[in-house]
């Protein structure tokens, strides 16, 4: 699923009949810190999201598993309104994804990145 922000709505009176009654929102993809990214998607809203809300969007055929969308022709649905995104160490996703950043044990002690071993395990 991707994180995004609702930036608008789409009104479509002539559409597939199974889509009637569905709320169509324009969602801009964002990074974990909320910064806009390229790309947007038209998603059916199933959780009453509004413009400006940070949301969770499920894509592909899994979108039809959102409530009420069983046989609806959709490939993107808003399945959650995001309250918070907690990245460990508070580092943004970019810093958090540096490969030399060793995972942190719950107690805060760093452990060696399991990753690649020199010899065979």
């Amino acid at each position: 699923m991707i994180l995004g922000r609702v930036i608008g709505t789409v009104v479509s009176t002539r559409k597939d009949e199974k889509l009637s009654g569905s709320k169509l929102l324009v969602v801009r993809a964002t990074d974990p810190r909320g910064k806009d990214e390229a790309g947007y998607v038209i998603a059916v809203d199933t959780v009453n999201a509004g413009v400006g809300d940070r949301v969770l969007v499920v894509s592909g055929s899994s979108a039809r598993m959102a409530s009420g969308l069983k046989d609806v022709p959709v490939d993107a649905a808003i399945c959650g309104v995001v309250d918070a995104v907690d990245v460990v160490g508070g580092a943004g996703a970019e810093e958090g994804s540096r490969s030399d950043v060793a995972p942190v044990e719950p107690g805060g002690a760093r452990k060696a990145t399991p990753g690649l071993r020199d010899g065979r395990a």
């Binding site: 990074d31 592909g60 309104v81 918070a84 990245v87 990753g115």
Partner: protein, 88 residues
């Protein structure tokens, strides 16, 4: 299925009823040499993974299979925690 590193958690109180009770984790896809590839994404956790751990995740329709017979609207699910791996 692919490898990823868990960056943190996503909290969403208002969400699809089928997602209630599921843990949403922010993961960074990585290649076999542990380097990050692509953008972080949100995956549902079915094995109790924690931040900093390396995991196996899958994408697409099958991501809902760990939760069958329920219909869970997810296109990414963590299905394993990696202890270690070796790749040429």
């Amino acid at each position: 299925m692919l490898l990823a590193r868990v960056l943190g958690t996503v909290v969403a109180t208002r969400k699809d009823p089928a997602l209630v009770g599921s843990k949403l984790l922010l993961v960074q896809p990585i290649d076999a040499r542990s380097a990050p590839i692509g953008k972080p994404l949100v995956a549902i956790d079915s094995v109790g993974a924690g931040a900093g751990e390396h995991v196996i995740y899958l994408k697409g329709r099958e991501a809902a299979h760990p939760f069958l017979p329920g219909d869970v609207p997810t296109d990414a699910a963590i299905v394993g925690i990696v202890d270690q791996w070796y790749a040429e």
